[in-house]
């Protein structure tokens, strides 16, 4: 279980003349998520959802003030040293950051990229790493033959799946995904979220998804937290949120989406 308690995140603001002023991106929020289910942080751009996600494995930029607690099975992650966090990253908590599909090194095949991670983090032999990569590709819904391709030879959807394979390298208990389907067309999008959902349902992985796409989040998640201006303004099962939004902001969001879906 991951429990967030009274979490606040404040960035030092960058201006063209250097650092000045501060931005409070997340304001005293609390929520808990369990393994074996899909949870989503939804909301518009700038609402603070990515900040929360990045704070969990301690990956906020230097100079960011974090207060409150992030408990992983009772252990407070915000109090850990960089070394202690490194031991948890990849193995317990893996992150698929925004734009992960464009983060593969262009000079290696995607398979080699993943093999390197397996070597560095698990010390696998070349041969074992190659076999493991094939396994990971299959789990991420990719044809193993694609491991010998370079990133530019893959489609956006294939690259996103390769990023999922990479995140699964060390068998994490938790997968944190930031906008995993943005910039992909709806059919590819559906395939990716189905794969993520399958990982949760068959492998018991815990998953926290960040998305600005409420209909997409509602179609796969059992519980959604809607953020606005650094706070959680609404939380519940998708069905409850759509039927009875309690907060004016989320009500407006739901209505804007329903209006688009409704035939006039």
């Amino acid at each position: 279980m991951i429990s967030i308690r009274n979490l606040s995140i404040t960035y030092g603001r960058m201006t063209s003349r250097g650092r000045s002023g501060e931005t409070e991106a997340v304001k005293n929020i609390s929520f808990s998520v369990e393994k074996g289910k899909l949870f989503a942080l939804a909301g518009e751009s700038g609402s603070g959802k990515s900040s929360v996600l990045m704070a969990i494995p301690g990956l906020l930029p230097e100079g960011t003030r974090v207060s409150g607690e992030i408990l992983l099975d009772g252990r407070n992650l915000t109090a850990l040293s960089e070394e202690e966090l490194n031991a948890l990253r990849w193995r317990r908590i893996a992150l698929i950051p925004q734009g992960a599909m464009n983060s593969f090194t262009p000079v290696l095949t995607v398979g080699r990229h993943i093999e390197e991670v397996l070597d560095v983090h698990l010390g696998l032999s070349k041969r074992a790493a190659r076999e493991r990569t094939q396994e990971l590709f299959v789990r991420a819904g990719l044809d193993g033959a694609l491991a010998s391709r370079y990133p530019h030879e893959l489609s956006g959807g294939q690259k996103q799946r390769a990023a999922i394979a990479l995140a699964l390298a060390c068998d994490p208990d938790w997968l944190l995904c930031d906008e995993p389907t943005t910039a992909l067309d709806v059919i590819t999008q559906k395939g990716i979220v189905d794969t993520l959902k399958d990982l949760v349902e068959t492998k018991g992985v815990g998953m926290l998804l960040v998305s600005h796409d409420l209909p997409l989040a509602a179609s796969v998640c059992s519980r959604i937290f809607i953020m606005k201006g650094g706070t959680i303004v609404e939380e519940g099962a998708p069905r409850e949120i759509v039927a009875h939004p309690k907060n004016p902001h989320s009500a407006a969001l739901v209505n804007a989406l329903l209006e688009l879906e409704r035939e006039e």
Partner: protein, 269 residues
């Protein structure tokens, strides 16, 4: 006839690594003045190529494009420029398509100054401010900031829309113009475009989202691997899709309104 595309076929030339790729196959489309159409398709379906062809930036293998009654293959460069000036284009990528060194206000005024001349500066500035205000980015601090700095993708897209609308185009070509917008802003932009359509502007709206397509134009066309596989009303595509690709598209579309798709009921346990 505002636009008459007949049996248009376009190839991407072969490179060292791949053979020539057929981007559009015998594609036809007719649009009367004031009419709009949404073009729905996935990445690689030929949507962007089609837009580039209408604005005379791509030469077809065969077939013809006639814009405002002029055959593009016979138009001189000068004539092409004149025809393009009657169209607004919102490209898919607001990062690559806006002049990075200009301020937001300057970027929107630029087409106006190029076409109407420096003397019309005051009127152009007024028009640009009005548009940016309508699009919700009229605050002075945004107007005076450089496009390159401190603008989000969604804000850039709105700048690109204002730039395309500033000359009051007869035809607006939009390539996924709201892909980076939040749900509420997206609705605002569609309403702004709708107002222009009501006063006579035609629009070709390219998207992979069927709901957006229906909102943008009642008439639609589904493009799959360079071919029009379904034509008619967008609402019919959603209600009773015919082609297997359209069916897959409708099935994959996440819907907030349909409780059947909620994970809380089926998968969340």
């Amino acid at each position: 006839m505002l636009l008459d595309i007949r049996k248009l076929t376009i190839d991407f030339p072969p490179s060292r690594k791949r053979k020539a790729v057929r981007a559009l196959k015998e594609f036809s489309l007719r649009l009367e003045a004031g009419e709009s159409v949404s073009i729905v398709g996935e990445s690689g379906s030929g949507k962007t190529t089609l837009i580039r062809c209408i604005s005379g930036h791509v030469t077809p293998v065969s077939g013809s494009v006639s814009l405002f009654g002029a055959d593009l293959s016979e138009a001189s460069n000068q004539e092409l420029v004149a025809l393009r000036r009657r169209c607004g284009v919102v490209s898919q990528d607001p990062y690559g398509s806006l002049p990075p060194t200009l301020t937001v206000l300057e970027a929107v005024m630029e087409p106006w100054l190029l076409v109407r001349g420096r003397e019309a500066r005051q009127a152009g500035e007024h028009k640009a401010r009005e548009l940016l205000d309508e699009l919700g980015i009229g605050r002075e601090e945004i107007l005076s900031s450089k496009v390159r700095l401190s603008l989000s993708g969604g804000q850039r897209q709105r700048v690109a829309i204002a730039r395309a609308l500033v000359l009051g185009p007869e035809l607006l070509l939009c390539d996924e113009p709201t892909s980076m917008q939040d749900a509420s802003t997206r609705g605002d932009i569609l309403r702004i475009l709708q107002r222009r359509q009501e006063t006579g502007m035609s629009m070709i709206f390219v998207t992979h989202d069927l709901f957006l397509a229906r909102k943008a134009a009642s008439r639609g066309l589904v493009l799959y691997r360079g071919e029009a596989v379904e034509e008619g009303l967008c609402r019919d595509f959603l209600a009773s899709p015919q082609h297997p690709y359209t069916k897959a598209l409708v099935a994959a579309l996440p819907k907030l309104s349909s409780s059947a798709t909620y994970a809380g009921e089926s998968g969340g346990r």
